[in-house]
Subunit: 150 residues, 2 copies
Amino acid sequence: MRVSSKAHYGLRMMTEFAKAYGAGPLSIAEVARVEHLPLAYLEQLASQLRRGGLVDSTRGVHGGYSLARPADQISVLDVVTVIEGEVSPVECVSHGYVTGTCQREGECASRGLWIRLKQSIDAVLSQTTLAELVADQSLIDSIAPAETTR
Amino acid sequence: MRVSSKAHYGLRMMTEFAKAYGAGPLSIAEVARVEHLPLAYLEQLASQLRRGGLVDSTRGVHGGYSLARPADQISVLDVVTVIEGEVSPVECVSHGYVTGTCQREGECASRGLWIRLKQSIDAVLSQTTLAELVADQSLIDSIAPAETTR
DNA sequence: ATAATTCCTACCATGACAGTCGGGATTCTC
DNA sequence: GAGAATCCCGACTGTCATGGTAGGAATTAT
């Protein structure tokens, strides 16, 4: 029951893209710098995010990535799903589940529980957008700006 | 963001113990039989559940395990926690988190999100008890009893 | 005694995670 | 056109959790 640091990294990268939205593409070298994350690893994650349709890429000298749509239209669930695959506590409640795969299907008492759990997780993650994370960030920075200068 | 099949097995075992509650200890050999799970693996899980204080064990010929307290006083969260450790999407919101371990602490905008997520998961899992799972099970069995005979 | 049980430790195979590395393709700038 | 900055891609690696298996020791009812 945990979010991988992979997805966490992806989310941090996405908030950087969100901050830069509208001001041209942001390179992952820059993201690596401000977030203190390994460049080569971010490259892989960025590719996944692009293939997942969350960002667009621009190659060449002033290239980089930018959000495929405004930050208030990308939820944390979108990001986590692209990086970790569908959020689902057990296979039998995932979207692509084929009826009958689980032999216990008819007699399973806990399926209802897993469905409630999935819905609950999805709700929390889909209610928060990148825009809100960025807003919270600015708020934090405005209160304690000295911290960020190290 | 998934529950391990280990925890799932543990939960299935616990519901068997719940069904047998009051009628003496239930052996894991029996659990393995009715749930079609590997015996040797269940042994390990049963030990964990015992060390976690959820069941009591009786050795010897008519030995086995029985719930340490009534089924309506053991939640799914109890079981999952004993088997998987604390449910926590990221380290910084877990119970044993030491303030300052995460360098981003002051500037982290997503911590609030993870806290909401944890609370949401905990709520769902702690609201369901073994007693409810057993009750649901009986209901299912009474509706479609033919299924279980194969 | 012996059979049924829990208990305990060690072992193992597989796959995910969290990266690193090296090079190729593209595009801007000079 | 050369060079630098960038994205793109595949291969490789070390560590750890998962999902088991195996063997034997301790305990207890019959």
